[in-house]
Amino acid sequence: MANLKTSEKKSKAQSMGLHTEVLTGKTQQKFFNPDEAENFYYFGTYDVDFNKRTEIDVKNMDCREANKKIDELMKDGYGTIVIKNPQGKHSLGVGILNKLNLIFEGSLGYFGCGSMDGPIVRINGRVGWSCAENMMAGKVVIEKNAGSCFGAAIRGGDLICKGSVGARTGIDQKGGTIIIGGDAGAFTGFMMQRGRIIILGDVGINLGDSMYDGTIFVGGKIGSFGSDAVEAELTDSDQDWLKRKLKVAEIGENFDVSKMTKVVAGKKLWNYDALEPTEKKGAI
């Protein structure tokens, strides 16, 4: 277990007076001890074989039935599952905490592939609002357009839309990478905290409004900058990373990344204080 009490290396946040509380207590001991990881049971995870492939037609299923069926197939060891006729249904492919190749032959409605951790998903259609919300890890590729709140609050993984996306893409993003091949709507990167967003096309008004941290790269025109979002210098390492990422994402491989605009938080709205909780109590 990482000894948080004796850790000497300070992060930038700590040097600014944040996170100086020593993490203690049962919860920390229980959840942050890697030595005991093998004793944990992860609900909904199975050993699957990517070469074991099957198809299901969800035309006459509701989302619960379809998601249950995916779970049963993973339980039976299927590592590649093709979903036929999703027909814009909501909440398909959610809560998958497993390695899996999941292919949707059609479009999804709202909240598709939400709260997942690990699978590689390809959607040969479009997606509605809040696709891949809260994704922890994995990769989702959408061949057509996406609705608003694309990748809301994702913590990790790669989320790729080859078409255009609606408003508030990457709202509250906490990690991972969102890549858009087309245009993005208003309030892209609204209140984002970590991670990166790449938009090859144009972006709407209030880009990066109230962002705490993270980075947004835009290839086209920017409608307007949001509150506390500022342009930053595009470094060589940024360009190298962009090229690599676009190649891996099967999108914009030959895009001229040197002309992209880099947007970060101006940090003028940061309003943390350096008081410890006990000191704060005293002050109040």
Partner: protein
């Protein structure tokens, strides 16, 4: 949360009553308090069709006070006498439900004066007035309302509809969408969202002689556009002005005799999915609404913030 849906066949007619019923029923999880249809039917274009109510549906869940059918009869009698006074000739009369009526009328004078006279009867509201438009709205989901009014066989060019979850006003027909763009023939509006400067706008518009029948914020859109058009603006110009004049979050559809339009607020806070082809435009709050009439794989997209679009038949 409410659901809206609309479609327009360009250069063709179709069974729009049945199609819209399917689209709205797919959105019933967004609200089942009431459902409304604005259907632009295939008519001879000679006479006005007036859809009006002389009372409310007082079924379970309604926020209206129960009235005796004799009250409805009395109101109908007064309306009939007023029509005669106005010089309007009733060609055909259908009493679909005790409180809901459909008249075909020959009339060639001012619609504002006409409407004011008819609606001066307590409890009477004109739901729509037009040579093509018919607004039908009642409590219940799309299927219930469709069956109650036999809408599934209505043939026409375009239609808009609304599945309502009542949040800011009562569960009654007067607060249900679509709203007629009084006093303009054949104009109707449905809306998903909230308008935050409703009362300010309402006071201004009432001072200009415009009429409000409910306290539903969505009615403001119909009245706002009607006032703009009364002052010479085109529908599209009025819709573009509404993006600044109306505050809040909204996606709304407006339809006229030969066109269908959509507008989305500048924050794009309310959903809309759109399918557009040479002969059909279909749109709704969710893709499943469009899929109810186009189950095959299709290209759809979300219009961006502050977008206004208008299509002609």
């Amino acid at each position: 949360m409410c659901g809206i849906a609309g479609l327009i066949h360009r250069g063709n007619t179709s069974n729009v009553g049945f199609e819209l019923q399917g689209m709205l029923q797919a959105l019933k999880h967004r609200g089942e308090d009431s459902t409304g249809y604005a259907l632009y039917g295939k008519t001879d274009g000679e006479n006005f069709i007036m859809r009006f109510k002389v009372g409310e549906n007082v079924a379970e869940g309604s926020s209206s006070v129960k009235e005796d059918v004799s009250v409805y009869d009395e109101r109908k009698k007064i309306v009939d006498s007023y029509l005669s006074e106005l010089g309007a000739k009733v060609i055909k009369e259908d009493r679909i439900l005790p409180y809901s009526l459909r008249y075909e009328i020959q009339y060639d004078k001012d619609l504002m004066e006409f409407s004011q006279k008819i609606e001066s009867v307590e409890g009477v509201e004109i739901l729509s007035m037009g040579k093509s438009l018919e607004v039908i709205k009642d409590l219940g989901n799309a299927e219930v309302v469709c069956n109650r009014y036999n809408l599934d066989k209505v043939v026409g060019t375009h239609a808009i509809g609304h599945a309502r979850m009542a949040t800011e006003s009562g569960v009654d027909i007067k607060s249900a969408h679509p709203f007629w763009g009084y006093p303009f023939s054949d104009v109707s509006v449905v809306h998903n969202g909230q308008l935050t400067n409703y009362w300010n706008n309402r006071r201004v518009l009432e001072n200009k002689g415009m009429r409000f029948m409910s306290e539903c914020d969505s009615e403001l859109i119909a009245v706002y556009l009607a006032e703009k058009m009364r002052n010479g603006a085109t529908l599209e110009e009025g819709m573009k002005e509404s993006l600044v004049g109306l505050d809040g979050v909204f996606t709304y559809f407006v339809a006229t005799k030969d066109s269908l339009g959509m507008a989305k607020d500048t924050m794009a806070a309310k959903p809309l999915v759109l399918f557009e082809s040479d002969d059909l435009v279909a749109m709704g709050s969710e893709e499943i609404a469009i899929r109810s009439i186009l189950p095959q794989e299709i290209e759809t997209y979300d219009p961006f913030d502050g977008e206004v679009k208008v299509w002609q038949i």
